[in-house]
């Protein structure tokens, strides 16, 4: 289980040796599709299609912005494992995207992942969705999460905020909520 935990930390949370830069609280173009106002200063790293923002470290709390998941893509590649991972399919409903996210997190090593309150959410000008999550790390630490997203031109754009139920999720929850409300999509 230690090995699996290591894999999940590397993939789901990005590795500790990732190079971070400071992201200032001014409007930031996340992708060609949308921009946000980060609200506060975040440590910022990018790996492929995934951006990670954190203040206290990704093991405690993080915002992940997954940009443009294509047909057949996985959400979190699990290196070194031959297991089949959930794949995104164009045309997925919000219910199926929720299932895709939850199953992907499980495949990445999170345990007892549950989600609730799937509801419509205005992702800038795009009709989107959001929901809440709860899960355990491989070592049994309780986490909470918020997921919000939308599809544009058959690609999935997802913002995922997670943090330990004790202290770190709540610490920046209101900032993340304001950030989600600040989403602006390009016309």
């Amino acid at each position: 289980m230690k090995t699996r935990a290591s894999i999940s930390i590397i993939v789901l949370l990005l590795s500790a040796c990732t190079h971070y830069t400071l992201l200032e609280p001014q409007r930031y173009q996340v992708s060609e599709v949308y921009s946000v106002e980060p609200q506060i200063q975040w440590n910022h790293a990018k790996q492929g299609a995934v951006e990670l923002w954190t203040v206290d470290g990704p093991l405690l709390q993080a915002v992940r912005l997954v940009n443009g998941v294509n047909e057949g893509d996985v959400l979190f590649p699990v290196f070194g494992q031959d297991k089949k991972l959930p794949q995104f399919r164009a045309g997925m409903s919000a219910t199926e995207v929720q299932e895709f996210v939850v199953d992907s997190m499980t495949a990445s090593g999170a345990a007892d992942v549950s989600s609730s309150n799937l509801r419509p959410f205005q992702f800038g000008a795009l009709p989107g969705f959001r929901f809440e999550m709860q899960f355990l790390s491989a070592d049994g630490l309780e986490f909470e999460g918020i997921a919000a997203g939308a599809t544009s031109e058959e690609k999935l754009y997802l913002i995922l905020y997670t943090g330990t139920r004790s202290h770190y999720f709540d610490k920046y929850k209101s900032d993340v909520e304001r950030m989600l409300q600040s989403i602006q999509t390009r016309a």
């Binding site: 289980m1 230690k2 090995t3 699996r4 290591s6 894999i7 070194g80 031959d82 297991k83 089949k84 991972l85 959930p86 399919r89 045309g91 409903s93 919000a94 219910t95 199926e96 299932e99 939850v102 199953d103 499980t106 495949a107 345990a111 007892d112 609730s116 309150n117 799937l118 509801r119 419509p120 009709p127 969705f129 929901f131 355990l136 491989a138 070592d139 049994g140 630490l141 309780e142």
Partner: protein
């Protein structure tokens, strides 16, 4: 983790097995209440095992419900009354068919195994197999064999490299990786014999022992992946195991033949977990094997709407040609049975929506909203109606 460690060990032992025929060391069975002398390597193995046990207990993956824990523990105590107090069982929520026994007397039983056992007798056989490893002290034999052979350095290097850590030559690290709980085929055969003997003596029907392997063989063959199930990685070939167990079952005299199968009890105890475990299994995305397993459950347990619902979920997730129709049929069957989950309406609507069957999708979504007016995704599903 177990799969990788298993591969490492089987590779090493397989290589050494080519050079020298393996014989089982003459090690006495562990005695009830026995603890190894603190100065021995076996005591070190126990300490490392107890550390793994503490971590597992705190992991949040262990089922704490008293009823199912009592069920598994009772089987163990029935199999081996004299060791009942020495064995501690942890039921771990993991959708794979596996169990493992540690030298200090703690046993992991994964929910994927309990889900796939058709009855108590089949579960008892596998638990007996694991107890066989404990009685025969296979872990310490494994350790001493590896330590005393020329392949030890290679073993350490490959095992630790596969686990993604640097060179570690101590027993604790190997226990933590599970490497010493992945046994040679000779030890597996011996544990098979012990497990069969125990379940037979405890009054369980010996005919059930080979059946669980036959079922797993079907899953493996359907998947087209020889490593689809962790248990197959080091264990003797399933065909060999089935033949051996059938022979053993035939040889049990009628006067000593147990008849207890325990199918109803097993179904009753596991029923509250059925939906959770099936959901976990589908999340594992080994859908060809899951399809075989679900159809077997439907055949054995009869009309259970959850089973038809998850069969529909499997087809919806897989989305191969013809799966949409199969999904619709499974959801419709589920909804025709008493106690069907409201989510079957929602999923039925999703399949129809994807297929462009607007009227059917609308009817299904409306039925979901009527059946689950307090559902947390009510607003989302209502928005689907606006999009149709």
């Amino acid at each position: 983790m177990l799969l990788r460690a298993t591969f490492v060990l089987s590779t090493i032992l397989g290589l050494s097995g080519c050079a020298t025929p393996q014989t089982l060391p003459d090690t006495a069975n562990i005695q009830p209440g026995e603890r190894p002398d603190i100065t021995t390597d076996e005591a070190g193995l126990w300490m490392a095992s107890e550390d793994v046990e503490r971590r597992l207990a705190a992991s949040g993956r262990v089922l704490t419900d008293p009823e199912i824990n009592a069920y598994v523990k009772e089987i163990i105590c029935r199999l081996s009354p004299e060791y009942c107090a020495d064995v501690r069982v942890y039921i771990v929520r993991t959708p794979h068919f596996n169990a493992s026994m540690y030298p200090s007397g703690f046993m992991q039983v994964w929910t994927g195994l309990i889900l796939r056992a058709e009855n108590e007798a089949q579960l008892a056989y596998v638990l007996g197999h694991e107890l066989g490893h404990y009685f025969r002290r296979h872990s310490i034999q494994q350790w001493r064999t590896v330590r005393d052979t020329a392949s030890a350095m290679t073993f350490f290097s490959i095992a630790t490299a596969m686990a993604g850590v640097g060179y570690v030559g101590d027993i604790g690290a190997l226990v933590a990786m599970g490497a010493l709980m992945s046994y040679s085929r000779e030890f597996e055969r011996e544990a098979d014999d012990v497990g069969f003997e125990m379940m037979s003596k405890a009054g369980y029907s010996p005919d059930e022992a080979p059946k669980i392997w036959q079922a797993l063989l079907q899953e493996r063959d359907a998947s087209g992946d020889p490593n689809q199930l962790i248990f197959f990685a080091t264990h003797p070939s399933t065909e060999e195991r089935i033949d051996t167990l059938k022979g053993l079952a035939t040889a049990v005299p009628a006067s000593a033949r147990g008849v207890d199968v325990g199918a109803e009890r097993h179904a009753k105890i596991t029923h509250p977990y059925l939906s959770e475990w099936l959901r976990d299994d589908l999340r594992n995305r080994k859908l060809a094997g899951s399809e075989i397993m679900l159809k077997r459950l439907i055949e054995n347990r009869g009309e259970r709407p959850e089973l038809q619902y998850f069969l529909g979920e499997l087809y919806r997730i897989r989305g191969d040609e013809g799966d949409a129709q199969h999904a619709v049929e499974a959801y419709t069957t589920a909804l025709g049975q008493k106690g069907a989950p409201a989510e079957a309406y929602r999923s039925l609507g999703l399949v129809h929506w994807r297929e462009g069957h607007t009227a059917e999708a609308r009817a299904a979504f409306e039925a979901y909203l009527r059946a689950a007016p307090k559902a947390s995704d009510y607003a989302m599903v209502k928005s689907y109606l606006d999009q149709l």
